[in-house]
């Protein structure tokens, strides 16, 4: 449910469809697609401060439009974005995702990341891989990789090493465990620095988890039952309030102990 917050000046000044909003007042409030954001730009002599518009915002000439509905967020000094909720992943450069290897063709693996097309992963993009020393990747394996090319004009490409050539935990992982899909908003909540869900989860029992920014999570615990418990908690805790979640965690830890 979104609340409309009409800015008084907008009604007087604009008879167009787009609502001109002063951005300072909209931070933390819901915005809809089509809203035009006005920034107070300091017109100094040489430099104007660069403005970065993140996901959900789009630039049109000198104006910034909202193109997805959500809550407007701000980060110092000049970064604005929309905190939105969606399940469909669109590849973006630099993001780490979980992919499933679907095909091996020549020197390249085809990996399904949940986007509109499959990404390619070169066999040389693993730590310690040479032309003679090929990595041990089979069809159906799970890989944790990073995008180096991801735009709307080209086929996305993945790598399993960073710029120094080290793996840093990327590559094929997981024998066993369970892979399931959640919404992108939950993934970002789990990966935020002060995530309460993760703090509650780590007290229950030992387990291992890999979170991909494409909405895929892989979980492994000692027994199948524990794995399923964790998976069910993660899938359901998206729409729960803090108290509901705490009560569920309490019940789980009682049953386990």
């Amino acid at each position: 449910m979104f609340l409309f917050a009409f800015h008084p000046e907008a009604n007087v000044a604009n008879s167009k469809e787009a609502m001109l909003c002063c951005v300072k007042e909209k931070i933390g409030e819901a915005v809809l697609p089509g809203d035009l954001l006005a920034f107070e730009i300091q017109k100094s002599e040489n430099k104007r401060e660069k403005l970065i518009c993140g996901p959900g915002l789009r630039r049109d000439g000198e104006d910034v439009f909202v193109c997805k509905s959500g809550i407007l967020r701000h980060k110092e000094p000049n970064l604005y974005w929309i905190d939105l909720q969606q399940r469909r992943y669109v590849p973006a450069k630099g993001e780490s995702v979980i992919g499933i290897v679907t095909a091996k063709s020549g020197d390249v693996f085809k990996v399904d990341v949940g986007g509109s097309e499959q990404a390619s992963l070169s066999y040389l993009a693993f730590e310690g891989a040479t032309k003679r020393n090929r990595p041990n990747v089979q069809v159906g394996d799970l890989v944790y990789a990073q995008f180096i090319i991801a735009n709307k004009d080209m086929e996305p490409e993945l790598v399993c090493i960073d710029s120094c050539g080290r793996a840093n935990g990327m590559g094929v992982f997981g024998a066993g465990g369970l892979l399931f899909k959640v919404s992108l908003g939950l993934v970002r909540k789990l990966l935020s620095p002060q995530s309460e869900i993760v703090k509650d989860l780590e007290k229950i029992f030992p387990f291992e988890m890999v979170i991909g920014l494409n909405g895929r999570i892989w979980v492994k615990a000692k027994t199948t039952q524990q794995t399923l418990i964790v998976a069910n908690i993660l899938e359901s805790c998206e729409n729960m309030t803090t108290e509901q979640r705490r009560s569920i965690f309490g019940r789980v830890s009682e049953n386990v102990l």
């Binding site: 660069k50 403005l51 973006a92 993001e95 780490s96 935990g169 387990f207 890999v210 979170i211």
Partner: protein
């Protein structure tokens, strides 16, 4: 043509390399200018006023990574996978480079502490020294470690004593 004395050669022939050597400087210049004129006529150009590129102060960013400082994606709890836990501390501390705590973390993350390293070095130096001393000098070396024991001064060398008749 033969009565002319000099045959009228076409411009293409005159442009060839072997003909350039015989020509004067003037004729060469004329030829070059004519060539340039022909070439510049052939080039097409737009007859538009100069458009200034607008400076863009608004940058578009497609990814969520710089917006919210997200942690490393692999996690392990309660020691389920110790390698992943080591990776977690490493990667998450890389993200927070301004913390002072990170220096302490780096020290605890090192496999061997500084004190242990110093102790190892002491014993290592001693054992190598002992290895390379001859058997006769060994008590002297051992005596250096034990300050209390009495040692013979190493200067008294044992010489062969001829048996008396």
């Amino acid at each position: 043509m033969a009565s002319d004395g000099t045959a009228k050669l076409s411009k293409n022939v005159l442009r060839m390399k072997f003909m350039q050597r015989g020509l004067d400087a003037e004729t060469r210049k004329q030829l070059e200018e004519e060539e340039k004129r022909i070439i510049s006529d052939e080039h097409w150009y737009l007859d538009l006023p100069e458009l200034k590129e607008k400076e863009n102060f608004i940058i578009e960013e497609r990814s969520f990574l710089p917006c919210e400082d997200l942690l490393y994606g692999r996690m392990s709890f309660k020691g389920f996978n110790p390698e992943v836990e080591k990776l977690m501390t490493l990667m998450n501390s890389q993200n927070r480079t301004e913390d002072v705590e990170e220096e302490e973390q780096n020290k605890t993350g090192v496999d061997v502490s500084d004190e242990e390293m110093a102790r190892r070095y002491e014993s290592l130096v001693g054992s190598i020294k002992r290895k390379f001393t001859k058997k006769r000098n060994r008590p002297a070396i051992q005596g250096e470690d034990n300050v209390n024991s009495n040692i013979r001064s190493p200067k008294i060398k044992k010489v062969f004593l001829k048996p008396q008749d």
